[in-house]
Symmetry: C2
Subunit: 350 residues, 2 copies
Amino acid sequence: MAIGLKDIAQECGLSAKAVSDILNHGRTHSYRPETCERVQEAARRLNYRPNRTAQTMRSRRTHMIGFVAPAYSSEGLMNYNIHPFLVGLSHGLTERGYHASLVELKELETGGLDELPSILHERFFDALVIHYGLSPGVRHLLPEFDVPALWWDSGVFEPQDCLYRDERKAGRTVTRRLIEAGHRRIAFFGGHSGWESYLAGGPIHYSLAHRYEGYRAEMRAHGLEETVITGYEKAEFAARLRELEPTALILLGLGAGTALLFDQTAHELGWRIPRELSLAVLDREARLPQRGVLVGGLSYDRYAAGRKAAEMTLQTLETGAPVPSVKLLGDFEMGDTIAPARHVRADKIP
Amino acid sequence: MAIGLKDIAQECGLSAKAVSDILNHGRTHSYRPETCERVQEAARRLNYRPNRTAQTMRSRRTHMIGFVAPAYSSEGLMNYNIHPFLVGLSHGLTERGYHASLVELKELETGGLDELPSILHERFFDALVIHYGLSPGVRHLLPEFDVPALWWDSGVFEPQDCLYRDERKAGRTVTRRLIEAGHRRIAFFGGHSGWESYLAGGPIHYSLAHRYEGYRAEMRAHGLEETVITGYEKAEFAARLRELEPTALILLGLGAGTALLFDQTAHELGWRIPRELSLAVLDREARLPQRGVLVGGLSYDRYAAGRKAAEMTLQTLETGAPVPSVKLLGDFEMGDTIAPARHVRADKIP
DNA sequence: CTGTTAGCGCTTTCAT
DNA sequence: ATGAAAGCGCTAACAG
C-alpha cells in the first residue's frame, strides 16, 4: 500500500494537516524547525509521494492543458508543423507546473465533427488550446466548453483568445519583397492536388487560401498578373516554366524532394537557382535546422507561437478573463535562393 | 456550481449509486427502463458532466501516459522526428481511452539529469514512454518509477520494455544495397559538427554511431574502405567530392537546403543525381509527404513505432507484466536518387 | 503553532 | 432492484 500523509503523521505523532503544510506547501515557518526536520526525514524514509489526483480534487485544478487537434488518419501523412508549436507550448507550460496533453478530434469528411472525445466532457482540463484544421465557421460546431479555450491557426479570428499568423500579409510581404528585388513574372507554386480544386472553387485550409489571396492582391496592386503552377510531374513542370519564364517562384514550403525537382528542372532549362530563378517560401519553419543552401522567404516560428500560447493560456487562467488575440508574422530572408532579377530580358517585362 | 451525481439523484428521487450505475457504467439492465430514461433526461437537462478526477481517485487509474523527453533549449533547433512517434502513440492510446501527456526532462550538459519534474513523483501517470536522447547508461540516472516504463530509441537495449530501430542493421542494409547495385566508392556524409567530434572519440547519439558502425562493418566485409565527408561548405564539399569521386553518398537524412547543396555541387562537377552520384538516406521519415523527386534509402516509420509503443504500454497495463522488447527496421527504396553504378570508371574501382 | 472536522465527487461495499 | 454509508488522499476552515 502506498504511503500517505496519514502514515507520515502517525509516524511522527502529528496531524495530517501539519504534514501536508510542511511537505506539500512549504509552510515550514509555522512549525518548529525540528518538527519539519522530523517530518521530512520520515517522508524520505517511507518514500512518501503526494497524490496529485487527490490534490486536484480539492483544488479543482488539474494543471493540465488539453491540446486539441484533428486526428490524423492512421494511413495518412502528417503535418509536422504542429510539432514546434507543441514543444513551445509544453515548454512554456512546464515552467509553470502545467502540462500539455494530446486530445484528438475525429473529423468527418464533411468538415463536421463525429463525436467529441469524452475527456472533454469530464471537467479534466484547466484550459484548452485548439488547433483546428478546417475552414472558419467550424468553431460553432464545437460546443461551448466551460474552460478557457485558445484558438491557434484555426480559422477563427476574433478579438479575443485567438493566435495566428497573418497569412494574407505573409503572401503580400513575400510578393512585395520579390517585386522590390526587380521581379515581375512571379509565379505561385501550389503543388499538391488540393490546390487545383481550390482554384476551381473548392475548400482549402484558410492559411493556404489567405497566402494566395495576399500574393494575388499584391501582384494586382502593382499591375502584375498572378500565375499558378501546380503539380510535381517533372516534364510538365519544365514545360510550364519554359512557357511562363518566371524569374521567381513563391512556394508554400520546400522539402528535399521538391528542392531536387526544382534544381534539376532548372538545370535542364539551363537556369540556375537563384540566378535565373528565385525560390521564395511562404513558410520556412524557423526552428528547423537550416543546412547547406539557405532557403529564402518568410519564416514562421511556431515554437515561439507555442510559447505565446502558453503565456496567453496561463494569463487567462490567472485573471479569469479572455486575453486579446495575437497576430504573428515571420521574418523575411533572401537566403541563397532569392536574387535580384537582374537578368530579366526586357521584352519579357509586361 | 457544477452538477454532480447527487443533484441528478435528488432531481429524480434516486440514490447517487443508481445514477452512477446508469450514467457512468451503462448498467442500465439493473434498473427499470423508465428509471434510466428519467435519469438520462435529467442529466441532459441539467448538463451533468462526470468528474474524471473523482473517478480517478477511486479507480487509481488516470488513463494518462507520460511521454517523457529531454527538454529543448528555448533557442535551440528541434528534433522533428519525435512528432510522428508522438502522433502514433496518441492515436493508439486514444482508441482505448488513454491520453498522452508531455513531460520534459531537463538535461544537463554532462548528460546527467538536473531534477525530475515533480509530476513524475506524484503518482499521476499510469505508465511512461521515455525517449531519452543520450548514451546508454543514462537509464540508471533515472530512478525506478513505480509505474511501467517503455524506452523508445533511448540507447537502452534490454530484453523487455524497449522499442527501437536496429540502427546498425540500418547502416549495413543501405550499404549492402548500394554495393549490390555496383557501388564501390561509397562515402558517408556526416554533416553536422557533432560528427567530427565523434570521429575524434567524442560522444554522440547512439543511433548515429550505430549507423556509422553498420556502414563501416559492411564496407569492410566487402573489402572496401570507409570514407567520411563532413561539413556543408560548398567549395570544400565540391573539392572533397572531386578528390574521392564517390559514386554514392550515404546520408543520415535529407532536407531542402542539403538537397540543393548536393544537386548544385553535383552539377558544378558535371555530375547528375543519380546518374553519376547516388544519394541514399538512412532515415527517410515514412509519413512525411514525398513530393517531386523521391529520395531513396531506408525509411523509419515513427508513426507505426508510436502505435507499437501504445500497444506495448497498454499490454503492460493490462497484464501487469513487462513486454518483450521490439526491434524495428525500415523499408529500402531506390527512389529517384539511387541508380546502379553503371558509370564507374574501371580504373577507379579499388 | 497545532489539531479536529468536514468535505471534494464518485464508487464500492453491504444491507434491504 | 435500490438505498445508505464508508472512504479514496488531501486540504480548507475553524478551534484552540
